[in-house]
């Protein structure tokens, strides 16, 4: 299939730099997810790979060939859009066949490719229908079909699930994952939904303000965030970020001053940082526990999600979020004793960069 390389890619809209030098290699058959907040440049980056946006500086290579100045249709990429972008005046069959006809394929070549893709996506019965006679999920499947028939080197998905309702989103997400396994195709998927990113990706690229903040597997990005931005962005609810100071350290054993309290912590992994450094401790909500011998924290908000409960607490005048399994019945304003399981915590320096050393897992 195809691999994609971005070398020092930059993009300006007028004097505003929206992509600030991106270097990235997506290997053959990989599913990479670009994730980041609105306006971080993830869709622009995808459109630059597709050739729909000009690249101001740097190069885009597909299979080692520089395609930076190549027309979109000649790059061997296919794209699925958020709003489906099906041609409203054509039926599903013609929508899927349009690109093949433009490529000069004859009817005898077009027909089996369209029907095979329709079979894969179970949309055979929709081929005669126009988009307005289809549901959102059906339209998106036709849009995916339109990408499949072109047999592209790289599939590009621009928030394809955003317009679908919750149930359909899960179904289509599973379908895309299955498609990736079946086609073994290179796919780049843009989303702002971290659940999609975590469940689909071989690797996640976290973008912020036109820069890559971290590239890694979903586990790496979740458990070892490269900086405070990634720590706060990946994971819902977000990681608790607690200001601290290193009172003393010996190897993996730290004495951390958290407000008035000094906590001994044995961190998993190899961390930098010296005695006296101001740091930020990152603790996932599931690493905060309700425990009889813990410090009392006031309940500010309780979100009951059925299978789990998310408590928004106030501990020593600081907000703290806790996630517990099951339906925990607590009143607002009540005091809940909590302890922090700091073994798996992250540690960031004053600039917000992780103090975890690269070799440690």
């Amino acid at each position: 299939m195809g691999n994609v390389t971005l070398r020092g890619v930059r993009k300006l809209f007028g004097s505003l730099e929206v992509i600030k030098g991106v270097d990235l290699t997506v290997t053959d058959g990989e599913l990479v997810v670009f994730v980041g907040p609105s306006g971080c440049g993830k869709s622009t980056l995808l459109r630059m790979i597709a050739g729909l946006e000009d690249v101001d500086y740097g190069d885009v290579l597909i299979n080692g060939i520089d395609v930076t100045d190549m027309a979109p249709a000649r790059r061997g990429v296919a794209m699925v859009f958020q709003n489906y972008a099906l041609y409203p005046h054509m039926n599903a069959y013609d929508n899927m066949a349009y690109g093949l006809r433009r490529a000069g394929l004859r009817r005898a070549e077009v027909d089996p490719r369209v029907r095979r893709a329709a079979g894969m996506l179970q949309i055979d019965h929709l081929l005669d229908r126009r988009p307005k006679a289809m549901s959102g999920g059906q339209r998106q499947r036709v849009a995916i079909g339109r990408a499949i028939v072109r047999d592209p080197k790289v599939f590009l998905f621009d928030e394809p699930l955003s317009n679908l309702d919750a149930a359909l989103r899960i179904e289509t997400r599973a379908q895309i994952a299955a498609l990736h396994r079946e086609l073994r195709a290179t796919m780049i998927f843009v989303t702002h939904d971290q659940v999609e990113a975590m469940t689909l990706a071989d690797r996640i690229v976290v973008l912020n303000a036109g820069r890559i903040e971290q590239i890694g597997t979903p586990r790496e990005v979740y458990h070892n965030p490269a900086n405070i931005f990634v720590a706060g962005f990946i994971g819902a609810p977000a990681m608790n970020l607690i200001p601290a100071r290193i009172a003393a350290r010996a190897g993996h054993a730290f004495l951390l001053r958290l407000g008035d309290v000094v906590e001994p912590v044995e961190l998993k992994g190899d961390f930098g940082g010296s005695t006296g450094d101001i740091v930020t401790l990152g603790v996932r909500p599931e690493q905060v526990r309700v425990s009889e011998d813990g410090q009392p924290a006031e309940v500010v908000l309780a979100e009951h999600l059925g299978g789990e409960t998310i408590l928004h607490l106030r501990l020593a005048e600081r907000p703290l979020i806790l996630r517990v399994q099951g339906d925990l019945n607590v009143a607002l304003g009540a005091q809940v004793p909590v302890t922090l399981d700091l073994g798996g915590a992250s540690l960031f320096d004053a600039a917000g960069t992780s103090l975890r050393r690269a070799s440690s897992g």
Partner: protein, 292 residues
């Protein structure tokens, strides 16, 4: 399945939002009155077309022709001094060609302004809109001199050719419509390998049918009534469109009002029929153009 409420429960009547019945009657009476003001001249034209001069000018006003003089219809189509059918054909040709030119040129220009990115686009668009501020009469003389030097006075070229060069108002209207076409459709077509003109012709233009109908109808109505241009550029009675033909017939045969009215009736009829057939698209097109 949910059962309907039974027993003493009484379904609520919808709240009256339009005032009492007196208000409704007054409102409709007012509307009918206003409609009558607009329809009266048309009705007068219609009944005069089936009267003779004496009946038209009779002090005893009648609102229905008695007798109905059907021979006026025959006279309109057979009089040697009023080539009505020929002039009707000229009008159809004139309006048709101008409309074709307007729709083609304005949609291409509007697509460029709305969907393509090129340097100076917004400045050129502002300049195009700026031409609306120049009264047509200002440019009329130099344009006439150009066509006269080209030896085209006395032909339809000076009347039709400018329509193929765009018209600022219609370009603006269509641009507004094209701005509403999802950008992703164009991107998808580009990825599918369609060249720019094909994207315009096969993907974008089919989405703009209602806008095309509105522009076409405006153009037809305007050209059908256009008087000054044909009067200046055309010299032969057989070349005149109906707008000028009717005028010259009336000025030459001042007393023959029934034929003039019959001519006016048959001049207005095609536009009315056309509007009746396209009114849904026309209404939708106007609404979408103004909303976007």
């Amino acid at each position: 399945m949910t059962a309907l409420p039974t027993g003493t429960a009484k379904r609520r009547t919808p709240r009256n939002r339009g005032g009492g019945w007196i208000g409704k009657v007054m409102f409709h009476a007012l509307m009918l009155g206003i409609a009558a003001i607009f329809l009266l001249p048309f009705w007068w034209m219609l009944i005069s077309a089936f009267k003779n001069n004496a009946d038209i000018f009779s002090l005893d006003i009648t609102w229905w022709p008695d007798p109905v003089r059907w021979e006026n219809v025959v006279a309109l189509f057979t009089r040697p001094d009023f080539p009505f059918l020929r002039q009707f054909g000229n009008s159809v040709f004139y309006a048709g060609m101008v409309t074709l030119g307007t729709v083609l040129s304005c949609s291409v220009a509007a697509y460029s302004f709305a969907c393509l990115r090129w340097k100076g686009r917004d400045a050129v668009f502002a300049l195009t809109i700026g031409t609306l501020l120049i009264p047509a009469i200002v440019t009329f003389l130099p344009t006439y001199i150009v066509f006269a030097r080209m030896g085209l006075v006395g032909t339809y070229w000076p009347l039709i050719a400018p329509a193929f060069l765009g018209e600022a108002f219609y370009i603006f209207m269509m641009r507004q419509f094209f701005l509403g076409v999802p950008r992703e459709l164009i991107d998808a077509a580009r990825l599918d390998g369609a060249a720019e003109f094909r994207i315009f012709w096969q993907i974008v233009l089919p989405q703009a049918q209602t806008a095309l109908v509105v522009v076409a109808l405006f153009s037809i109505v305007y050209t059908w009534h256009e008087f000054f241009g044909p009067l200046i550029y055309l010299n032969d009675r057989n070349d005149y469109p109906l707008s000028v033909g009717l005028f010259t017939f009336r000025t030459q045969r001042a007393v023959e009002w029934p034929i003039t009215m019959m001519g006016s009736l048959f001049t207005a009829l095609p536009l009315i029929v056309m509007f009746l057939f396209t009114r849904r698209l026309f209404r939708e097109g106007l609404a979408t153009s103004s909303l976007k």
